[in-house]
């Protein structure tokens, strides 16, 4: 046993423990000072509320960038009736959780479904009262069901989309049927971009190299995860960049820095807008998919405002706006897609309510830190 091991394995004496705990207790107290046990549950009416709705939101999903301004604006009637919400922007679900853990208070947050359990575990959210949402019965029932926890509607699903391989058709020739294996193709060394996300990179390995249902977490034993880690470390040399912001990836594609990459629908739109010859693939192992929506802050003082705001988001008008503008799907099934570009509808299966059934839809990750640690080791190698 090394000296280091001896140092750390030594049991702490009562005195040492108390000293160590003194700092902890002090800081715990300080952290707790910001806490508030009062819950903003439904009471009174919307007129009794302050109306200063605060939303932790993705850039581009805020009024008026989302839905436009004026009579046809998706969120306009909410703004006209009450007030423009205050937005704080998030760049990832993890960052949003971190902000919440650090003490920031929001009435609404726009996470993705695989993180809802984390929000519940954090004690930050409360269930919605779906009777206050006039458009709730128009939502895709499978997405609604997928987002319930213990039968409670902590999450209102809104936008969804696919994650898949996008490649330049004029530069890349897939070997046979298109596969996620393009990410590991030696022929395109230096022209590949992965998403800097721990879970998805292991999932892709699982579905391709591992040949198993990667969303069945029981399959991820320590030796399997170790194999995946070693493989990704070896293949990392093919990768030009791991993008953490979609804009970075879009810029890299537009500037021909990369030809193959992990992409959402928005990147396909950006590449098409740049007049690039790109393919949004339907890999033989299946696309991954995501579904985001709203969770309601436990301490909200704007309970009714929050419901009114979400109701606008899940309206058919909202669905009709997001599809042609962001190339994302919407959970409102009453949307008319006849006016949307047919190529777009076909590529993203926007007229097919069961489209997500064929993809690997994102799910809660019970041991996220284990994957994250392995992924950090891949990046640090």
């Amino acid at each position: 046993m090394s000296e280091l091991d001896k140092l750390f394995n030594r049991r702490l004496s009562r005195g040492q423990f108390v000293k160590l705990g003194a700092v902890a207790a002090g800081t715990t107290f300080l952290a707790a000072c910001g806490g508030d046990d009062s819950s903003g549950a439904a009471s009174g009416s919307i007129e009794d509320e302050p109306g200063n709705l605060s939303v932790l939101e993705w850039a581009g999903y805020e009024y008026p960038a989302y839905g436009g301004k004026g009579a046809t604006g998706v969120l306009q009637s909410y703004v006209d009736s009450y007030a423009k919400p205050t937005y704080t922007f998030l760049t990832s679900d993890d960052q949003a959780l971190g902000k919440a853990r650090a003490g920031s208070k929001f009435d609404l947050v726009h996470p993705c479904v695989s993180y809802v359990q984390d929000w519940v575990d954090l004690g930050y959210v409360q269930p919605f009262d779906t009777s206050l949402l006039t458009n709730f019965d128009k939502l895709n029932p499978s997405l609604v069901e997928n987002s319930q926890i213990d039968g409670k509607q902590y999450f209102i699903p809104v936008d969804w989309g696919f994650s898949s391989v996008m490649y330049r058709a004029d530069k890349v020739e897939p070997d046979g049927e298109v596969s996620w294996n393009l990410f590991y193709d030696d022929r395109y060394k230096g022209k590949i971009s992965w998403w800097d996300s721990p879970i998805e990179n292991f999932l892709i390995w699982g579905y391709t190299i591992g040949q198993f249902d990667a969303y069945d977490w029981d399959n991820w034993t320590d030796p399997v995860l170790e194999d995946a880690k070693k493989f990704l470390i070896e293949k990392k040399k093919l990768v030009r960049n791991m993008w953490s912001s979609q804009t970075d990836f879009d810029t890299d594609v537009a500037n021909s820095n990369v030809w193959i990459g992990y992409a959402w629908g928005g990147s396909f739109k950006a590449a098409k807008d740049a007049k690039l010859n790109v393919v949004y693939a339907d890999p033989k192992e299946g696309r991954l998919s995501w579904n985001c929506g709203f969770v309601l802050g436990k301490d909200t003082q704007n309970y009714h405002h929050a419901h009114a705001y979400v109701d606008q988001w899940i309206s058919a008008a909202s669905a009709g706006w997001i599809i042609p503008n962001y190339y994302y799907g919407h959970t409102n099934t009453t949307v008319d897609t006849s006016a949307v570009d047919p190529e777009l509808v076909a590529v993203f299966k926007l007229d097919d309510p069961t489209a997500l059934d064929e993809a690997h839809i994102e799910q809660y990750v019970p041991d996220r830190r284990r994957f994250a640690k392995a992924w950090d080791e891949v990046k640090a190698a």
Binding site: V23, T28, R101, P198, R369
Partner: protein
Amino acid sequence: MGTAGLVLPPTLWLAVFFLVPVGISAAYSVGALSFFPGEAALSLDGWRDFLDGSAYLRLFWKSVKIALIVSVASILLAYPVAYYIALCAPKRKYVLLLLIIAPYFVSYFLRILAMKVILGDQGVINSFAYWTGLRAQDDPIPGLLYSQTTVVITLVFVFVPLVALPIFVSLENLDRRLLEAATDLGASRFTAFRRVTLPLSLPGVMAAFVFVFVPTLGEYFTPLLVGGTDGFLFGNSIADLYGASQDWQTGSVLSLFLLFMIAVLMAAFARFISLRSVAAN
């Protein structure tokens, strides 16, 4: 207002925005606080895993190497500029100084993004290489973008103006009579520089080194934007641990370790940069 009145506000500021966060980080690092409620359990496992040859520790030494390269390169590039402005251009020195710091009128983010435009496969340098026939189309100069080299180039570009300032100040305050005396005693210009100018400007050089080395050691943003898979540094690991990993315990361990190492470094440099010499400058 007495001395206490003057000292109290900065002391309070330091306590609230430095000591308390450090204390909270310390509590996280030993498991006294946890990300999710109910997970807290006192343990030194985070420290043990980190110090016992973890990937993070190797990454720290990689960051030290990059920080050293960036610091030395920045000083080597900035010194001649500062020398020229301070000693060779007395009438135009403030105009030149303004030009040197002009990049700081543009945001840090934009300056880094500008490097992507310059160093990209269709960027200024590669386009020139394609145009002159030095490189074939679709065969850009390797490693120009998304590499450790890119991180070094970008950070040097960012830091050179900052580094030039303390060196300029130390050279500007140089007693010129010493240089005249050296010349009178038969020293060549190079000898006068080596024996008089350089030693007397060392406090400025050391200050410049610290100005670059310390922020580069914890640098996160530049590697994220232009580092690619090869440019991942210690600061990026800290950001990941607080972000995607939701592992605030290990993140706090890494943060405190970085803070400790910087404190040690500052103590070492305090021997070279006395407060008196900084005040004199």
